[in-house]
């Protein structure tokens, strides 16, 4: 048994760390560390810098402009970014669509779309969920009917993250009603500026705008935008989801948040003592810390198995459940630690240009908001109940 990284991996870790140190903008880091949503421009500047270094899509093969990172290198990069408070790479293009195009797309599609992801010419969003199709994704109804060189798309997508920023969307659409629902789904790329597309914001319970509804009315999509074969989209969608669910442990981010929570608890008072000395609080915090420490090992065990050539399977479901629940636990305890100040909701107090009264402690500005916003973590990317279905089927063979 050996927990250490190899010498090369350690060197890579140092390289990532110093790159982040030199490149990250203090203002953006502060936003990330305080849990404030970053702007499209923040993301784009960060993507650009990563791309100049060749790290925007490190896991891509070298031929497409990546670094051929293996799972451990990807892990190191993401953990260092998490500790440093770097913005998350917006995953829809480089992390989600790209693997599908590389595996199932035509040469023409690869040559056209992949470079544009790196340069930032396209901002992608993901058209999966529909009002009537959440966990039961295969029941989706948005239709695409072939007419000559085009598909005519009609229907509605929902929960579409950052659709307000996107100029392209990859969509699951129904091209057949024959056979099982899974057998009539296709995977298609749609220009968000096409006539007939309307995007409406969905404001979440914390008041923020991340997700949207998208309405399609007779939208004309060139047939060459179909990925792979017609009616085989479900296979591609599942392939994409396994990519979506990796890297959900978020250990470094959670560690950073725990450090911040500890600081808050040292400064807060209860019974004339620092809150961190309160036995009930200390007990809750220690349990989260132990859970996180265990998750760190569980995650490394999964990585080591993949590194060893085992296929990543339902283990990513275990990680997704644990990672989301632990982060929610931290957000929950952070909210509690603020006491009455948790009523405050002034997320703008953490952005530049805020003119209102100073919020103290600063973390209170968006702590409750963040707590409510992060209830999404056990719902998105396949709800944790769906993850348990996957574990039952693939690991327990029930």
């Amino acid at each position: 048994m050996d927990l250490d990284f190899t010498k090369e991996q350690k060197n890579f870790q140092i390289e990532v760390r110093s790159f982040l140190n030199e490149t990250l903008e203090t203002k953006v880091v502060e936003k990330v560390k305080n849990g404030v949503p970053i702007t499209k421009e923040d993301s784009e500047r960060w993507h650009k810098k990563l791309n100049e270094k060749g790290w925007l899509a490190g896991t891509w093969p070298k031929q497409y402009g990546g670094q051929d990172w293996d799972v451990v290198e990807k892990f190191i990069f993401e953990e260092e970014c998490g500790s440093a408070g770097a913005p998350r790479i917006v995953p829809f293009g480089v992390g989600m669509l790209a693997p599908v195009l590389m595996k199932f797309g035509s040469q023409e599609q690869k040559d056209y779309w992949l470079p544009r992801m790196l340069t930032g010419e396209d901002w992608w969003c993901q058209g999966y969920s529909e009002p009537g199709s959440g966990s039961d994704l295969a029941s989706l109804k948005t239709s695409a009917v072939r007419e000559g060189d085009f598909y005519i798309v009609n229907g509605q997508k929902t929960w579409t993250t950052f659709a307000q920023h996107a100029n392209m969307i990859f969509c699951l659409v129904r091209t057949s009603n024959e056979g099982k629902p899974q057998e009539g789904i296709s995977f298609i790329l749609i220009d968000m500026n096409s006539p007939g597309i309307e995007v409406r914001p969905i404001i979440t319970l914390d008041g923020s705008h991340e997700v949207n509804e998208i309405f399609f009315s007779d939208v004309k999509v060139p047939a060459k935008n179909l990925v792979g074969e017609e009616n085989k989209g479900w296979t591609y969608a599942k392939y994409l989801l396994t990519h979506e669910r990796t890297g959900n442990a978020n250990v470094a981010v959670s560690k950073r948040k725990i450090q911040k929570l500890k600081k808050l608890a040292d400064d807060a008072k209860k019974n004339e003592q620092p809150l961190s000395n309160d036995p009930m609080f200390a007990s809750r915090l220690a349990q989260i810390e132990i859970d996180l420490q265990n998750l760190e090992i569980t995650n490394l065990r999964t990585l080591a198995a993949v590194e060893d050539g085992e296929a990543p399977g339902a283990e990513s479901s275990i990680i997704k459940i644990l990672g989301s629940e632990i982060e929610q636990d931290i957000d929950n305890l952070t909210r509690k630690s603020l006491g009455k100040r948790a009523f405050v909701n002034e997320p703008d107090a953490l952005s530049s240009g805020y003119n209102g009264a100073e919020v103290f402690p600063k973390a209170a500005a968006y702590a409750s908001g963040k707590y409510f916003n992060h209830r999404k973590k056990s719902i998105y990317a396949g709800s944790n109940e769906i993850q348990k279905n996957i574990i039952s089927k693939l690991m327990l063979n029930l």
């Binding site: 132990i290 090992i297 990585l303 080591a304």
Partner: protein, 373 residues
Amino acid sequence: MDFKPSPERQILFDTLKKYFENEYSLTDRNISAHSDLGYSKKAWEAMRDLGILESLIDPEFDGFGGTALDISTVFEALGRGLVVEPFLEVGILAAKVLSRGNDYQKSLVKKILENDCLPILAHSETDTEYTKSFVETTLSKATDGSYTVSGIKRMVKHAAEATHFLVTCRENGDAFNEEGISIACIPTDRDGIKIDSFATIDGGRVSDLTFTNVNISSEELVGPLGKSYSIVSQAIDTGILAICSEALGIMERIKELTLEYLKTRKQFGVPIGKFQAIQHRMAQLLVEIEQARSSVINATIYFDDEAEREKTISAAKFSIGKIGTLVAEESIQMHGGMGMTWEYDLGHYAKRLVLIDHEFGDEDFHLQKYISL
């Protein structure tokens, strides 16, 4: 990064696993575990012949193992077998203490391997005090330079056949003080020792031992007078690693039994494992068991690191205590009435798993300890 055991340890684990599956019948185990002795001498002999004790003991004392990884590997296998024989008490606790003693006491470790000696650590004094330094048993010096030991030791497992008791005691200091603790190695036929023994819920006998002015010579002290806390502390930490690993083995076996049951037991015309209410309970158990395993791996990795050992050991014991009870309760629930019977294996595993939380500090104790470190 590599989490796989070395090939040697994997072979050891597989050999033991197979042995317990084929040769260590749970029916026989349950009879001997709840007998007057509390274990089977025949099984003890047979398992000794396999070299299990040697794998727990350092080469310096004629063993061939004794590292944290060896201990963890062997005890996971012992857990799978639900072995009730005194490997923890003799091979870990007593052997660790005696290996820090004088030449004679060190020779007793070798005698353990030769089956000439069965020493048992008698340390715990009150039922609810888990702090390792809690010792009130007195050590008094007589005018001729010898000593007497007086006090009560409680819940000492497998004491009946012991040849020696290793008794923690103190000449001075408060009950919780780490300073002042000595260890006396007392032959069990010495005058002044009373043994009250009880049956247990999970198998094996426990005893309350009363020592009344038991005479010992200064040669019979293990380690330095008044400064032997670290000896008993390290022995107990090793014991914690061992029973956490034992608990892992038990959990894995419970997982197998429960999965098998879910796939064969039919209600409403289908195996009950087809019901989502059951699937989600079982999936949650799998997630928790993986976390428990990670906690034990973490404790094993840091076991020889003085600065990290106690914290990772407490984190593991806490995780095992919390998850172990959950696994026991949930597996009984999923088995329905079958989980409630003496005849079926599950209940016996579940009992041991829950009671492991009562050994060397429970989940609350170790959470508090983790916080304090």
